[in-house]
Protein backbone atom coordinates (compact mmCIF):
# COMPACT_ATOMS: atom_id res chain seq x y z
CA UNK A 1 0.00 0.00 0.00
CA UNK A 2 2.98 2.30 0.44
CA UNK A 3 4.38 1.69 -3.08
CA UNK A 4 4.81 4.59 -5.49
CA UNK A 5 1.60 4.82 -7.52
CA UNK A 6 1.75 5.05 -11.35
CA UNK A 7 -0.70 7.92 -11.35
CA UNK A 8 -1.16 11.20 -9.59
CA UNK A 9 -4.33 13.04 -8.68
CA UNK A 10 -5.72 16.56 -8.46
CA UNK A 11 -8.08 15.86 -5.57
CA UNK A 12 -6.61 18.50 -3.29
CA UNK A 13 -6.51 21.17 -5.99
CA UNK A 14 -10.08 20.53 -7.16
CA UNK A 15 -11.39 20.20 -3.61
CA UNK A 16 -9.90 23.55 -2.65
CA UNK A 17 -11.38 25.12 -5.81
CA UNK A 18 -14.82 24.07 -4.58
CA UNK A 19 -14.07 25.35 -1.07
CA UNK A 20 -14.44 21.90 0.46
CA UNK A 21 -12.52 20.73 3.49
CA UNK A 22 -11.08 17.23 3.66
CA UNK A 23 -13.83 16.39 6.15
CA UNK A 24 -16.50 17.70 3.73
CA UNK A 25 -15.18 15.55 0.90
CA UNK A 26 -14.83 12.55 3.21
CA UNK A 27 -18.48 12.89 4.24
CA UNK A 28 -19.60 13.15 0.60
CA UNK A 29 -17.80 9.96 -0.42
CA UNK A 30 -18.46 8.00 2.81
CA UNK A 31 -14.81 7.74 3.79
CA UNK A 32 -12.73 8.95 6.70
CA UNK A 33 -10.76 12.19 6.55
CA UNK A 34 -7.58 10.12 6.99
CA UNK A 35 -8.39 8.19 3.80
CA UNK A 36 -8.91 11.44 1.88
CA UNK A 37 -5.55 12.67 3.19
CA UNK A 38 -3.87 9.39 2.12
CA UNK A 39 -5.40 9.68 -1.38
CA UNK A 40 -4.35 13.33 -1.74
CA UNK A 41 -0.80 12.50 -0.67
CA UNK A 42 -0.62 9.58 -3.11
CA UNK A 43 -0.15 7.05 -0.30
CA UNK A 44 -3.35 5.16 -1.03
CA UNK A 45 -4.77 3.97 -4.35
CA UNK A 46 -8.58 4.20 -4.20
CA UNK A 47 -10.80 1.58 -5.80
CA UNK A 48 -12.51 2.35 -9.09
CA UNK A 49 -15.77 2.91 -7.24
CA UNK A 50 -14.11 5.35 -4.86
CA UNK A 51 -12.44 7.14 -7.78
CA UNK A 52 -15.86 7.65 -9.39
CA UNK A 53 -17.34 8.82 -6.10
CA UNK A 54 -14.52 11.36 -5.68
CA UNK A 55 -14.93 12.58 -9.26
CA UNK A 56 -18.68 12.95 -8.78
CA UNK A 57 -18.18 14.82 -5.51
CA UNK A 58 -15.76 17.17 -7.27
CA UNK A 59 -18.08 17.49 -10.27
CA UNK A 60 -15.39 16.43 -12.74
CA UNK A 61 -14.76 13.40 -15.00
CA UNK A 62 -12.52 10.75 -13.46
CA UNK A 63 -9.80 11.47 -16.04
CA UNK A 64 -9.60 15.07 -14.82
CA UNK A 65 -9.05 13.95 -11.24
CA UNK A 66 -6.67 11.01 -11.72
CA UNK A 67 -3.80 11.34 -14.20
CA UNK A 68 -1.61 8.45 -15.40
CA UNK A 69 2.07 9.32 -14.95
CA UNK A 70 3.95 6.03 -15.50
CA UNK A 71 6.88 6.31 -17.93
CA UNK A 72 6.84 5.13 -21.57
CA UNK A 73 8.32 1.70 -20.74
CA UNK A 74 5.04 0.75 -19.17
CA UNK A 75 2.61 -0.93 -21.60
CA UNK A 76 -0.42 0.69 -19.97
CA UNK A 77 1.37 4.02 -20.04
CA UNK A 78 1.86 3.63 -23.81
CA UNK A 79 -1.82 2.95 -24.32
CA UNK A 80 -2.79 5.89 -22.15
Amino acid sequence: MARILPFTNRVRELRECLGLTQADLAARISMTRQTVIAIEQGRYSPSLEAAFRIALALDRPVADVFVWTADGDDEVGKIA
Binding site: M1, A2, M31, T32, R33, Q34, T35, P46, S47, E49
Partner: protein
Protein backbone atom coordinates in the same frame (compact mmCIF):
# COMPACT_ATOMS: atom_id res chain seq x y z
CA UNK B 1 -5.74 10.14 14.30
CA UNK B 2 -8.84 8.27 13.10
CA UNK B 3 -11.28 6.57 15.46
CA UNK B 4 -10.18 3.13 14.19
CA UNK B 5 -6.52 3.89 14.82
CA UNK B 6 -7.35 5.09 18.34
CA UNK B 7 -9.27 1.87 18.91
CA UNK B 8 -6.30 -0.18 17.74
CA UNK B 9 -4.08 1.65 20.23
CA UNK B 10 -6.65 1.03 22.99
CA UNK B 11 -6.82 -2.69 22.16
CA UNK B 12 -3.00 -2.89 22.10
CA UNK B 13 -2.77 -1.36 25.58
CA UNK B 14 -5.65 -3.55 26.83
CA UNK B 15 -4.00 -6.70 25.47
CA UNK B 16 -0.65 -5.80 27.04
CA UNK B 17 -2.31 -5.09 30.41
CA UNK B 18 -4.32 -8.32 30.29
CA UNK B 19 -1.19 -10.26 29.37
CA UNK B 20 0.61 -8.80 32.37
CA UNK B 21 -2.28 -9.80 34.66
CA UNK B 22 -2.19 -13.38 33.36
CA UNK B 23 1.47 -14.12 32.71
CA UNK B 24 3.32 -12.55 35.65
CA UNK B 25 1.57 -14.65 38.34
CA UNK B 26 1.17 -17.65 36.01
CA UNK B 27 4.92 -17.93 35.38
CA UNK B 28 5.48 -17.93 39.14
CA UNK B 29 2.77 -20.53 39.77
CA UNK B 30 3.99 -22.90 37.04
CA UNK B 31 7.60 -22.41 38.10
CA UNK B 32 6.85 -23.35 41.71
CA UNK B 33 4.00 -25.86 41.55
CA UNK B 34 3.47 -26.79 37.92
CA UNK B 35 0.33 -26.09 35.94
CA UNK B 36 -2.74 -25.63 38.15
CA UNK B 37 -5.91 -25.41 36.06
CA UNK B 38 -8.03 -23.40 38.57
CA UNK B 39 -5.23 -20.85 38.95
CA UNK B 40 -4.92 -20.51 35.18
CA UNK B 41 -8.69 -20.14 34.82
CA UNK B 42 -8.87 -17.51 37.56
CA UNK B 43 -5.99 -15.53 36.07
CA UNK B 44 -7.50 -15.87 32.61
CA UNK B 45 -10.82 -14.54 33.90
CA UNK B 46 -9.04 -11.62 35.57
CA UNK B 47 -7.18 -10.88 32.33
CA UNK B 48 -10.41 -10.91 30.31
CA UNK B 49 -12.09 -8.55 32.81
CA UNK B 50 -9.14 -6.12 32.58
CA UNK B 51 -9.22 -6.38 28.76
CA UNK B 52 -12.94 -5.64 28.59
CA UNK B 53 -12.77 -2.77 31.11
CA UNK B 54 -9.95 -1.00 29.25
CA UNK B 55 -11.54 -1.64 25.85
CA UNK B 56 -14.97 -0.36 26.90
CA UNK B 57 -13.51 2.74 28.58
CA UNK B 58 -11.34 3.43 25.53
CA UNK B 59 -14.23 2.98 23.09
CA UNK B 60 -16.48 5.32 25.10
CA UNK B 61 -13.84 8.04 25.42
CA UNK B 62 -12.82 7.81 21.76
CA UNK B 63 -16.41 7.67 20.49
CA UNK B 64 -17.41 10.73 22.51
CA UNK B 65 -14.68 12.73 20.76
CA UNK B 66 -15.83 11.63 17.29
CA UNK B 67 -19.39 10.32 17.28
CA UNK B 68 -19.85 10.43 13.49
CA UNK B 69 -16.75 8.35 12.73
CA UNK B 70 -17.55 5.91 15.51
CA UNK B 71 -20.97 5.25 13.97
CA UNK B 72 -19.67 4.91 10.41
CA UNK B 73 -18.76 1.52 8.91
CA UNK B 74 -15.15 0.85 7.88
CA UNK B 75 -14.22 2.52 4.62
CA UNK B 76 -12.29 0.61 1.93
CA UNK B 77 -8.83 1.69 3.16
CA UNK B 78 -9.67 0.71 6.74
CA UNK B 79 -10.99 -2.66 5.54
CA UNK B 80 -7.72 -3.34 3.69
CA UNK B 81 -5.70 -2.37 6.75
CA UNK B 82 -7.83 -4.62 8.97
CA UNK B 83 -7.47 -7.55 6.56
CA UNK B 84 -3.71 -7.19 6.20
CA UNK B 85 -3.29 -7.05 9.99
CA UNK B 86 -5.51 -10.07 10.49
CA UNK B 87 -3.61 -12.05 7.82
CA UNK B 88 -0.33 -11.47 9.66
CA UNK B 89 -1.99 -12.27 13.01
CA UNK B 90 -3.35 -15.56 11.63
CA UNK B 91 0.12 -16.45 10.34
CA UNK B 92 1.66 -15.74 13.77
CA UNK B 93 -1.03 -17.78 15.55
CA UNK B 94 -0.66 -20.69 13.13
CA UNK B 95 3.13 -20.59 13.41
CA UNK B 96 2.93 -20.44 17.20
CA UNK B 97 0.55 -23.38 17.47
CA UNK B 98 2.53 -25.45 14.95
CA UNK B 99 5.73 -24.64 16.82
CA UNK B 100 4.14 -25.73 20.10
CA UNK B 101 2.85 -28.98 18.59
CA UNK B 102 6.34 -29.81 17.39
CA UNK B 103 7.91 -28.68 20.67
CA UNK B 104 5.42 -30.73 22.71
CA UNK B 105 6.66 -33.87 20.95
CA UNK B 106 10.32 -33.08 21.60
CA UNK B 107 10.33 -31.35 25.00
CA UNK B 108 8.56 -31.84 28.32
CA UNK B 109 6.17 -28.92 27.89
CA UNK B 110 3.23 -30.27 29.84
CA UNK B 111 3.18 -27.58 32.54
CA UNK B 112 3.89 -24.79 30.09
CA UNK B 113 1.62 -25.84 27.24
CA UNK B 114 -1.45 -23.78 28.20
CA UNK B 115 0.50 -20.59 29.02
CA UNK B 116 2.45 -21.07 25.77
CA UNK B 117 -0.79 -21.39 23.76
CA UNK B 118 -2.12 -18.25 25.44
CA UNK B 119 1.17 -16.54 24.56
CA UNK B 120 0.73 -17.55 20.90
CA UNK B 121 -2.77 -16.06 20.94
CA UNK B 122 -1.52 -12.83 22.53
CA UNK B 123 1.39 -12.64 20.07
CA UNK B 124 -0.99 -13.03 17.13
CA UNK B 125 -3.20 -10.22 18.44
CA UNK B 126 -0.24 -7.93 19.04
CA UNK B 127 1.11 -8.72 15.56
CA UNK B 128 -2.31 -7.84 14.09
CA UNK B 129 -2.39 -4.53 15.94
CA UNK B 130 1.24 -3.71 15.10
CA UNK B 131 0.68 -4.22 11.36
CA UNK B 132 -2.53 -2.20 11.46
CA UNK B 133 -0.91 0.68 13.35
CA UNK B 134 2.00 0.66 10.89
CA UNK B 135 -0.40 0.78 7.92
CA UNK B 136 -2.57 3.48 9.48
CA UNK B 137 0.54 5.67 9.58
CA UNK B 138 1.95 4.70 6.17
CA UNK B 139 -0.93 3.70 3.90
Amino acid sequence: MSFREKMTWVMTVATLAASWVYFVPMIEVVGQAGFIAPASAALGLGAVIILVMIAVAGIIISALSNVREADAPLDERERKIAQQGEAVGAFVLGGGVMGLIVAAHMLALADWLVPALVAALVASQLATFAVQLFLYRRA
